[in-house]
């Protein structure tokens, strides 16, 4: 993964005009799929992803059911039109892997033991991809699960950090992902202060690793604030506190 051109200009701006510690614009809308129990539409920069959560519901096929806990099934899928060249809609190796890591990133936050013999299905449909779609997908899926009313220990916020021009940058985009030095997606539960996903593609020194990880966690905290705001907006509108009734 050798870098061929400079991705940060002299003013310290990246290819999309951001500074090294700046997140892309994130927008979340909760409850966009009427038929789902919980759903979110997220715009993470140029990423556009719909997440729909169904369940807890009956497990089919029945033999997949676990007697003591709920089964979490995750499907990450990129639409054929989500990239500049058509993507084959059949699940690719990459999609199967991302489905797995997303499931494993969400599982620690869910209280699956509360719903034995049931299943929760999470569908992540990428409409437009621009790098960092797994992080956007995890963040949105976490909010959609909360929207579905599933017991959770914490929300999961995800954000990537990486190395571009030997500098650690937050939230790398598609170009930086392809041409940069390293990409480290992190999923993190802010209240519990626990990491549920940590991947690294590229080479970092020990110091760079630590710095990159800290940067990613900071990004997760920023994403968490947006998640929280989106949920609050859906359920409580602009009110932030319960008005106490007059006795």
């Amino acid at each position: 993964m050798s870098q061929t051109r400079s991705l940060i200009d002299k003013q310290g701006k990246r290819t999309d005009g951001r500074t090294v510690e700046q997140l892309r614009e994130v927008k979340m809308t909760v409850g966009v799929v009427k038929n789902a129990d919980g759903s979110v539409f997220i715009e993470f920069g140029k990423n556009k992803i719909i997440v729909a959560v169904y369940g807890p519901r009956e497990v089919h096929p029945k033999h997949m059911a676990q007697p003591d806990r709920c089964v979490l099934r995750c499907r990450y899928h990129m639409s054929p039109f989500s990239t500049d060249t058509r993507k084959n809609p059949a699940p690719s190796r990459r999609e199967v892997e991302i489905s797995k890591v997303m499931r494993e990133a969400l599982e620690p936050a869910l209280m699956l033991e509360d719903y034995p013999r049931a299943a929760i299905d999470v569908y992540v449909e990428v409409l437009q991809a621009d790098g960092g779609s797994r992080c956007a997908g995890i963040s949105a899926a976490s909010v959609a699960l909360a929207d579905a009313g599933i017991n959770m220990r914490d929300l999961v916020a995800a954000c990537a950090a990486g190395k571009v021009d030997d500098k650690i940058v937050l939230d790398i985009n598609d170009t930086e992902d392809k041409e940069g030095g390293a990409d480290m997606p992190v999923a993190y539960m802010p209240h519990l202060d626990e990491v549920t996903l940590l991947q690294l593609d590229g080479i970092l020194t020990r110091d760079q690793f630590n710095q990159c990880f800290d940067t990613a966690v900071e990004g997760c905290k920023m994403v968490y604030e947006i998640q929280k705001q989106a949920l609050m907006q859906k359920y409580f509108g602009n009110e932030t506190e319960v008005k106490e009734e007059v006795q």
């Binding site: 013999r117 929300l155 539960m189 009734e245 007059v246």
Partner: protein, 378 residues
């Protein structure tokens, strides 16, 4: 704890630090109580709980649900109760203990697609819920329009002291049966009334978390915006529960009536299981205060005699639907008295059920309290 009354929370939010008891939808992590759902956190004398604002229906023992027969085996029916678990209704529950698969035709009683009102009698982590129709007002629902709402909206649809559902029923001249699982069946004589009621119910579901909803429903239904007739609280019960609710419906927990009567009952005889359920729960609380189950029937009879709620749970004959006349009121009182007498004899037998019902009381009460507070805000 005094400073914390109610608070909006999302999963992971810390509600409070300290040695409090986690009650519902909360967990203890370290020294903190953490919410596990989106909802409104409440700190009470008992502990901390969160009233959830979303989620599917998870069965609980003694819930009254409306289910749809989806299949049958030789010994039981499978019933869809709008949950992740499908319920079983044993054939013996309908036919009696001498049920014989060879002799009795199960299709004659309940066919696939029928809607039934039932009580959950057994459910735990290891097995699917078992339901029963052995109670008055339980059994087949002969007609009506069914719709599903979120189970978390059920208390809001019922409203404070049943105000919301009474408003809808009276304005649209319909009867509304509400299952704790979020299935609602609307019956009535005119199609227009049913459609209007369905529209109102959907509006309640969509706007459940907003304040001043009752007023908007009244506007939708063209109900003059006058102060609704307040149920007389003349009863000298010390219970915090409204008298109108406690007074009605002394029946559901243990009164046994043959299913056939439910099956044969005219649509007019359809009553309101959930409201009665709540009311009976209120009585449960009062019973707790009295701490004497032997006097259950008498106590209920006493309560019944002082009922003066506008929408009584008496069989809604045409006049009863339009406006509660004194005639219908007195008749319903008589009936309740009679039911109470019946119940007195049965209550001792099924004491276990009454005890279990107390666990259920919380859910509805929480919802009602939440609603009360919202109303007060508005």
């Amino acid at each position: 704890m005094q400073e914390l009354k109610r608070k909006y929370v999302i999963p992971g939010d810390k509600i409070v630090d300290g040695n409090f008891r986690p009650l519902m939808n909360v967990i203890r992590i370290g020294d903190s109580i953490i919410s596990t759902r989106i909802g409104i956190a409440e700190a009470g004398r008992d502990g901390i709980k969160v009233i959830p604002l979303s989620g599917v229906y998870i069965p609980r023992i003694n819930d009254i649900v409306i289910g749809k027969i989806v299949d049958r085996s030789s010994l039981s029916w499978d019933v869809d109760i709008n949950s992740c678990f499908s319920a079983h209704l044993p054939a013996q529950d309908v036919f009696g203990r001498d049920f014989s698969p060879a002799r009795d035709d199960m299709n004659r009683e309940l066919a696939t697609g029928d809607l039934i009102t039932a009580r959950i009698i057994a459910f735990d982590r290891t097995r699917d819920p078992m339901i029963s129709v052995q109670d008055r007002d339980l059994g087949k629902i002969p007609r009506g329009e069914s719709l599903k709402i979120s189970a978390t909206r059920v208390p809001r649809l019922i409203g404070k002291r049943g105000s919301m559902i009474q408003t809808i029923e009276q304005a649209t001249q319909t009867r509304v049966i509400i299952g704790q699982n979020g299935v609602v069946v609307v019956t009535g004589r005119s199609q227009g009334g049913i459609e209007l009621a369905v529209k109102a119910i959907k509006m309640v579901e969509e706007e459940a978390h907003t304040s001043n909803l009752t007023q908007r429903i009244k506007v939708l239904l063209n109900v003059p915006d006058t102060t609704p007739a307040q149920p007389q609280l003349s009863q000298s019960t010390s219970s915090p529960v409204p008298a109108a609710m406690s007074a009605k419906a002394s029946k559901d927990i243990s009164e046994v009536s043959p299913t056939k009567s439910a099956l044969q009952s005219a649509p007019n005889d359809i009553q309101q299981p959930v409201r009665k359920e709540q009311q009976s729960q209120d009585q449960e609380e009062q019973e707790q205060q009295l701490s004497s189950r032997h006097h259950l029937g008498q106590e209920r009879a006493t309560l019944s005699s002082s009922d003066s709620s506008p929408s009584s749970s008496s069989p809604p004959s045409a006049d009863a639907i339009s406006l509660p006349s004194s005639h219908s009121k007195s008749r319903s009182q008589d009936e309740r008295g009679r039911k109470s007498d019946d119940q007195r004899s049965v209550a001792g037998v099924t004491g276990g059920d009454t005890r279990k019902a107390k666990t259920y009381v919380k859910g509805v009460h929480e919802g009602l309290q939440e609603h009360d507070k919202k109303e007060a805000n508005s």
